[in-house]
């Protein structure tokens, strides 16, 4: 069966958030920030913007009726910055106006006082200063320390992996309107409608049964709208509740790229030991995850790095450790693979290093160590219905 959306997609008939027929009286919202990654916030000068024709309101942290908090796993991320800025692009508030263009012009009129603080962008530097999102995690199987002596070859090295922008074609956006009795309908370009509903409930201080989140489809998500679609939806819901008018926000590409988190960059150290017949006997790795300024989904991403640290290989002695490091970057988030790709990249790099040092193809080592039924993953699950060797053999 062909994709049921195929014809509507190619003929432009599919409805995305920005295609929803607008309700009468719709207002437009735009987030504003300050060009600094770490600072003490001073006064926000809004009078110039507020006096512009078409500007309806500006909302900041002090306008929030419930909790100024959108953190999913850990409550460490305000909807609007309060007192301090922790990353370049952190929303301080939103402007609501009768058109998107007026919002943009008004944004230029907002002046914000701040005192810059030291900025950390490197995860190893953050870890050295004990700036961690959550306690370190580690997975262990066998005993690496006693295994090194049994190894014919032992190699160590360092790996760096950069992040990745989701670049969904449809940028972040949401559209809210009031129903009766303080109920709200929010159309949201989100992978997690319930997260949107739950967070609006906390921030607006209304029960979940008064919040209807509706998602027709997304123009791409890739993980970037698992947790990070929420904030924008909360902002329009807040404005709709305050103004009793429909309010819509669709981010400009450059705002989206600046303000949202991405795939986590990682730095890592590895140590790998093999027998003379190229069996990997021991593998040790330490991962430094660049989480950005708040937890977002980083602890879960960190865990998946450990789950997949040995990729498709059986290693009997494994010790992998991971630090989620707090830096002054936008909070990094879910991205297709969710930390798994970074974990795999490091062991592939380790195998490459061994192969280059021994002057043999990496594939000799890879093939020798592929998983098979009955093997155990470092997290205790037993391998069954394994297709690693079948896939390799049919590809060769």
């Amino acid at each position: 069966m062909i994709n049921i959306d195929a014809h509507n997609h190619v003929s432009g008939k599919s409805i995305y958030l920005d295609d929803i027929i607008e309700w009468k009286g719709t207002l437009y919202a735009l987030p504003f920030d300050v060009p600094v990654a770490h600072a003490k916030l001073g006064q926000i000068h809004m009078s110039g913007a507020l006096s512009m024709a078409g500007v309806i309101a500006i909302f900041t942290a002090k306008d929030i009726p419930g909790k100024n908090q959108i953190g999913g796993i850990i409550a460490d991320e305000p909807l609007f910055a309060e007192g301090e800025i922790h990353f370049w692009g952190q929303p301080i508030g939103i402007i609501v106006a009768t058109s998107e263009r007026i919002c943009r012009l008004a944004r230029e009129q907002i002046k914000i006082d701040f005192t810059a603080l030291p900025v950390i962008t490197d995860p190893r530097e953050a870890q050295a200063k004990n700036m961690l999102i959550c306690p370190p995690r580690n997975f262990q199987m066998g005993d690496v320390n006693s295994a090194w002596d049994d190894c014919e070859f032992v190699f160590e090295g360092e790996v760096n992996i950069n992040g990745q922008e989701h670049l969904y074609i449809e940028t972040q956006g949401a559209y809210a309107r009031m129903k009766e009795d303080g109920s709200i309908l929010i159309a949201s370009s989100t992978q997690g409608p319930t997260a949107v509903q739950r967070t609006i409930s906390n921030v607006l201080d209304i029960p979940m049964h008064k919040i209807e989140v509706d998602t027709v489809r997304l123009g791409g998500g890739f993980g970037g709208k698992e947790d990070q679609a929420t904030g924008w939806a909360v902002m329009v819901a807040l404005a709709a509740q305050k103004l009793q008018k429909p309010v819509k926000m669709v981010l400009h590409r450059m705002d989206d790229m600046r303000m949202t988190g991405k795939r986590h960059p990682y730095s890592a150290d590895f140590k790998i030991g093999l027998s003379s017949d190229l069996k990997i006997i021991a593998y040790e790795a330490t991962f430094y995850q660049n989480a950005g300024a708040a937890a977002d989904l980083s602890p879960a991403v960190l865990e998946r790095t450990l789950f997949h640290a040995t990729n498709a290989y059986f290693v009997q002695n494994v010790h992998v450790t991971a630090f989620s490091c707090k830096t002054n970057l936008p909070p990094n988030t879910a991205f297709r693979g969710f930390g798994g790709p970074q974990g795999k990249f490091v062991i592939e790099a380790a195998i490459t290093k061994v192969a280059e040092s021994l002057g043999i193809p990496a594939s000799d080592i890879q093939k020798r160590n592929l998983l098979q039924d009955g093997d155990e993953f470092s997290y205790g699950q037993i391998v069954d219905q394994c297709e690693a060797q079948n896939a390799w053999n049919s590809c060769e």
């Binding site: 062909i2 450059m254 498709a312 297709r336 790709p341 060769e396």
Partner: protein
């Protein structure tokens, strides 16, 4: 051979096996719900917790219903994901959207089917109900009645034509404190071979061929699954090659637009991507034994880094190189002439 004959172009090859666990590693998130209404005109509307984001989950949901009821696709509509219709959803993520929501949908359809079987037995004397192209069969015998007759009779008899079902992945568990358990419903496997040619004067490169053998189990939709594999491998290659995020020391994003952040375009995707489906039995915990496909194939792209590195080493065999992804053409050029 190519590398011996060409001074300024070098080919590199890497093999990239993958193994990826399917399930949210936070066990409590592995459940989903589905709501099915059959209206009195025989049309069917479906809501699940799955969010359509281009991955084709709605098409797979529709297939579940069509295959269970034996009616044409035009009879079934997949509605938006809505918190009033489907409560307490997990995000559509972890490659698990089709599995979790599809299993819930299957359960809802089975309950409705059982009621319809009773109606068919009592009022159309059909003891072994099968529906094909909307016609009711008793085994292989066409009864002459159709889906609409069955639904209208059920409605007259005040049979409930709506069903809401809940599915929670069985078996899985994980103890975070000791880091042991059985967190994944199953694993997805595969292997890719990536071939690249590096222009050793410019540092640019092009992927000539990516050959993939991927374990889909029993794919319920090969068009959609191949699309997911192609998209994922290209996204993975992009991450390892062209896509470079740069923040300056002050924490400002420098690559803040499409002019400075490059994703693969039609010119930079591999000339050839061959996908072969591994003949495997599939897994009971995958929807219709069709294994999850969203994330795993992205990791074939990791091989792009190592393929380029092998080509660079063919040109400059004696230097020591860092491992620092992505391997942009700038970094490739520096490595090609490192120590020379």
């Amino acid at each position: 051979m190519f590398n011996e004959q060409n001074a300024h172009f070098k080919k590199g090859v890497a093999v990239q096996p993958i193994c990826f666990g399917i399930s949210f590693t936070n066990t409590m998130m592995n459940h989903a719900r589905a709501l099915v209404h059959i209206y009195q005109d025989g049309s069917v509307v479906v809501s699940t917790g799955a969010v359509e984001m281009g991955q084709g989950v709605n098409t797979k949901m529709l297939q579940v219903v069509v295959q269970k009821f034996g009616v044409g696709a035009e009879n079934v509509r997949i509605e938006s994901t809505n918190t009033l219709r489907i409560a307490n959803t997990s995000p559509t993520a972890a490659s698990a959207g089709a599995d979790l929501n599809g299993k819930a949908l299957e359960m809802a359809c089975v309950s409705l089917w059982e009621r319809l079987e009773n109606v068919a037995a009592e009022h159309f004397s059909i003891s072994n109900l099968k529906i094909q192209n909307g016609m009711l069969f008793d085994g292989f015998q066409n009864s002459g009645n159709n889906w609409l007759d069955l639904i209208q009779k059920a409605f007259q008899l005040r049979v409930n034509l709506s069903e809401h079902a809940h599915y929670a992945t069985p078996m899985i568990h994980f103890d975070k404190v000791i880091g042991k358990g059985h967190p994944f419903a199953y694993h997805v496997y595969g292997t890719a071979i990536l071939e690249v040619t590096v222009d050793c004067l410019r540092g640019t490169y092009h992927f000539d061929k990516v050959q993939i053998v991927h374990d889909l189990g029993k794919s319920m939709n090969t068009h959609i699954d191949n699309g997911q594999i192609e998209g994922a491998v290209v996204q993975g290659i992009g991450w390892m090659t062209l896509e470079e995020i740069i923040y300056n020391k002050e924490g400002k994003l420098i690559t803040n637009a499409l002019s400075t952040y490059k994703i693969p375009d039609i010119y930079s995707v591999p000339s050839e991507i061959n996908i072969k489906h591994l003949e495997s039995q599939g897994h009971e915990m995958a929807i219709q034994k069709s294994k999850a496909v969203g994330e795993p194939p992205l990791m074939y792209g990791l091989g792009a880094y190592f393929a380029i590195r092998n080509a660079v080493r063919a040109f400059n065999p004696d230097a020591e190189f860092e491992i620092d992804a992505p391997y942009t053409p700038e970094k490739v050029l520096m490595d090609l002439y490192k120590g020379r």
